[in-house]
Amino acid sequence: MKHVLAVLVEDKPGVLTRVAGLFSRRGFNIDNIAVGETVTPGISRMTITVEGTETLVEQVIKQLHKLVNVIKVSNLSEEPSVMRELMLLKVNAEVGSRSDIQQIVETFRGKVVDVSPDSMIIEVTGNEEKMEAIKLLLQHFGIKEIVRTGKISLLRGSRITREG
């Protein structure tokens, strides 16, 4: 099973190395990771997706807690939460195929953000299923390049993941 962890860290030099290094030396795999600011200055939030059993994820969380710069770790997969990822795809788009591509993009509520004589850049946000679905459809036209932000996630409702 995939687990999405929200990790609040002190925004200090080397903190990403500490977290990434912990995963590699303990033999845990990071599926993806996204890092950014929070509402509190000096504190960053990492969203880490890790695949594994309950026992493994429990051990990942405990080991993360041992890092001095890690303030809080929550497993968002255990609770109702909103999960999103942003993906940009550069797709072959000859004049003849553009309207077909446009249609697919609209169905997935994506956006065409750049057009050149023979290609388009498409922006799409959503969960993993949606990403995989649009990728599959666009493969038909030839995907030249993909870039993804990694998943980010917030708890549903008014509850928040805070450092306290």
């Binding site: 860290v9 002190e10 030099p13 080397g14 190395t17 500490r18 290094g21 030396r25 026992t55 429990e58 051990q59 405990k62 080991q63 807690h65 041992k66 890092l67 001095v68 710069n69 890690v70 303030i71 809080k72 450092e163």
Partner: protein, 566 residues
């Protein structure tokens, strides 16, 4: 009018912080990048022990820390100075020993340019320190220093490294030192959860075949008295891991010895047959558990540990209690209830009678038995003696045959298994406890890994007995070749060993040789009376193996008994 605060140099801040933290001695080795700190040290009242290799500084500080419970402090220079510390840091990390290590670094402007003697020591030590710092500005120093001491000596202890660029030593800033500090992501739990403690009390009450299995956590938290009370009030036998030896007196009848690969047969049987294991300050290392699937399959397990990540890491736990071992045991004692263990103790007594430790008797043939030498040293030492070992056969024989009665008096590299640890650790121990006898039991292989420290010991007039259990082999590796590799002794014969007696004399130490039991006794007796370091080279049976033995990844009750049990 505003008071103008005095500005002081970064190097002066470090010395001043060490004094405020109660540091008495620094173990170290100077060099280019750390020169400003040594210049500052020159005028201070702090004692400095000059070693002959930085690794020995880390091990000596480790030995000092294990005896005193206080963080051991180390200075070294950038690049090779810092990288030479790495083994000592990893060793302390694995055994949860508090160290604060301060390394010089190339000047800030040169970092990242592959400057002379530059090494990314914070990067290198990331996986083997509890935490580390690269100081960018002297204004950060007071905060970082107090955090480093706080982190090293609280929670699960461990080494903390501070890397200081040369220009930061010379940079001036205000110095306002506060020993108390707060770190948002660091809040160790000391007091056990009341609900879990009640569950533990019930489990102890209901157990018919309980056993206490204790480790290094007992020693670090000072839990010996609580452990003794629990064992003796509830009549529960005690098993101690290698790291736990000394936490419970080795001569008590409830003590069953060490478990695991070279543990006592009784300890392994007891763990396998117990219906309750009270695990205190242990981490279920593979050398203890053997094959995990069959470990303690009949038992419920209570696990008390300061580090939540250790609970459930290797073994499934029924009653997890995160907290300081001493505090948790004291809480359990307040509500202690217990059943009748008489039948269980009788069973254990039978195992003990049927399975004495092999190799305990004097050898009849020409070659002396190594176990005999260790028993003899043990017999001739008083109960306050501190023993430090290196790593290998002699280490296991010491764990089996040396009578350790008190906590903080058995120093050994348990987790990392570092050959070369013992001798420098014994130097640190002697400085920590000048009034106690200190003995280093080592092998001919291990001793040569830090033999240069004879100069340090001689120069500082340290009364140390260094006992080399000399079998002319890397004995433990040879034993594995004997058992698992068809006696193909690839590169384990230590051809070209020096004459250790002459070598000791060349350093200005006393050297002795003992080839039989009579000479051994005489040499040990004489060494105890001598001033300064004494090296005794005990020539022992070259191909003696350590038994009992459990092959790796076998159940711990599947024991190769072996050895001469006459």
């Amino acid at each position: 009018m505003l008071m103008k605060k005095k500005m002081i140099k970064g190097s002066a801040m470090i010395i001043s912080a060490l004094q405020k933290e109660g540091v008495e001695i620094v173990f170290g080795y100077p060099g280019g990048a750390v020169l400003p700190l040594y210049d500052q040290l020159y005028d201070s009242t702090l004692r400095h022990l000059l070693v002959r290799h930085e690794q020995a500084a880390a091990h000596a500080a480790d030995g000092y820390a294990r005896v005193t419970g206080k963080p051991g402090v180390v200075f070294a220079t950038s690049g090779p100075g810092a990288t030479n510390l790495v083994t000592g840091i990893a060793n302390a990390y694995m055994d949860s020993v508090p160290l604060v290590l301060i390394t010089g670094q190339v000047p800030s402007g040169f970092i990242g340019t592959d400057a002379f003697q530059e090494a990314d020591i914070t990067g290198i030590t990331l996986p083997v320190t509890k935490h580390n710092y690269l100081v960018k500005d002297a204004r950060q120093l007071p905060g970082i220093l107090s955090e480093a001491f706080y982190l090293a000596s609280t929670g699960r202890r461990g080494p903390v490294l501070i890397d200081v660029p040369k220009d930061v030593f010379d940079q001036e800033a205000h110095f306002d030192y506060n020993v108390e500090c707060e770190i948002p992501g660091y809040n160790p739990t000391y007091k056990g959860h009341a609900g879990q403690i009640s569950r533990a009390v019930k489990a102890i009450r209901d157990a018919k075949r309980p056993v206490i299995f204790g480790g290094g956590g007992l020693i670090r938290s000072g839990a010996s008295a609580a452990l003794e009370e629990l064992a003796e009030r509830a009549k529960i036998p005690v098993i101690l891991s290698l790291m736990g030896l000394g936490a419970y007196p080795g001569d008590r009848s409830l003590f069953l010895g060490m478990p695991g690969m070279h543990g006592s047969i009784t300890a392994n049987y007891a763990l396998s047959e117990a219906d309750l294991i009270i695990a205190t300050g242990v981490r279920f290392d593979d050398r203890v558990t053997g094959k995990l699937e069959s470990f303690a399959s009949n038992a419920r397990i209570i696990h008390i540990d300061i580090d939540p990540a250790e609970i459930g890491k290797n073994v499934k736990i029924d009653v997890p209690i995160v907290g300081d071992v001493k505090m948790v045991l004291e809480s359990i004692l307040k509500k202690l209830q217990f059943g009748d263990t008489a039948e269980w103790l009788k069973q254990i007594e039978n195992w003990q009678k049927q399975n004495p430790m092999p190799g305990g008797l004097k050898s009849s043939g020409s070659a002396m038995k190594p176990q005999h030498v260790i028993r003899e040293i043990s017999r001739l030492c008083d109960e306050n003696t501190i023993v430090a070992t290196d790593v290998g056969q002699h280490q296991m024989w010491t764990a089996q045959h040396f009578m350790v009665r008190k906590p903080c008096s058995f120093l050994t590299s348990g987790g990392l298994g570092t050959m070369g640890y013992g001798f420098p650790a014994s130097i640190g121990a002697k400085l920590a406890a000048p009034d106690q006898k200190v003995v280093c039991i080592t092998g001919d292989g291990s001793f040569q890994m830090n033999i240069q420290e004879l100069a340090t010991a001689v120069n500082n007039h340290l009364d140390l007995t260094i006992a080399i259990i000399n079998n002319g082999y890397l004995g433990m590796v040879r034993q594995w070749q004997d058992i698992f590799y068809d006696k193909r002794y690839a590169h384990t014969l230590m051809e070209g060993n020096p004459d250790f007696v002459k070598l000791a004399e060349a350093y200005g130490a006393k050297g002795m040789r003992a080839c039989d039991a009579k000479e051994a006794t005489a040499a040990i007796e004489q060494a105890m009376q001598e001033k300064g370091p004494v090296v005794i080279d005990f020539t022992v049976e070259p191909e003696e193996n350590v038994y009992p033995m459990v092959a790796p990844n076998r159940p711990i009750n599947d024991i190769i008994i072996g050895g001469d049990r006459s």
